[in-house]
Symmetry: C2
């Protein structure tokens, strides 16, 4: 079973990497970008065949390793 986890910074947390990308886009003369925030995506192959079990495994993975829940949110999508 395939799943996708998206980890993004919480609102209000500064994102210098996003700011750098925004500045780089401006310097490339790409206009009309008002803000950029960068996050991470994990495409995961899970061996569980039932959705609830897969989601439980992935939630543990997020809490323990993939996301820093102090400053990041995560979303799990089973595909």
């Amino acid at each position: 079973m395939k799943a996708r986890i998206i980890v993004t910074l919480k609102t209000g947390v500064l994102d210098p990497q996003g700011k750098a990308i925004e500045a780089a886009l401006k310097s490339l003369a790409i206009e009309g970008i008002d803000g950029v925030r960068q996050g991470k995506v994990f495409d995961i192959e899970v061996s569980a065949t039932d959705g609830a079990a897969a989601e439980a495994t992935l939630r543990t993975a997020c809490e323990k390793l993939l996301a820093n829940t102090v400053v990041e949110n995560y979303a799990i999508e089973i595909l």
Copy 2:
């Protein structure tokens, strides 16, 4: 207008970062993960109000900066 760009490695391209995450999950005793591939997500605020114009801007941004199209795919979602 908000948009999300997801950049992932093309199939067949080695992903040592993904492999490291997979190994780290195993060492944390999180079982049932058969594969991990990491990508990037960009949450972008675009000033264009029409979807086609926004998508054109974002496509240029991907081609010029956000994705290395030799080894990466990108997907643009207007939210």
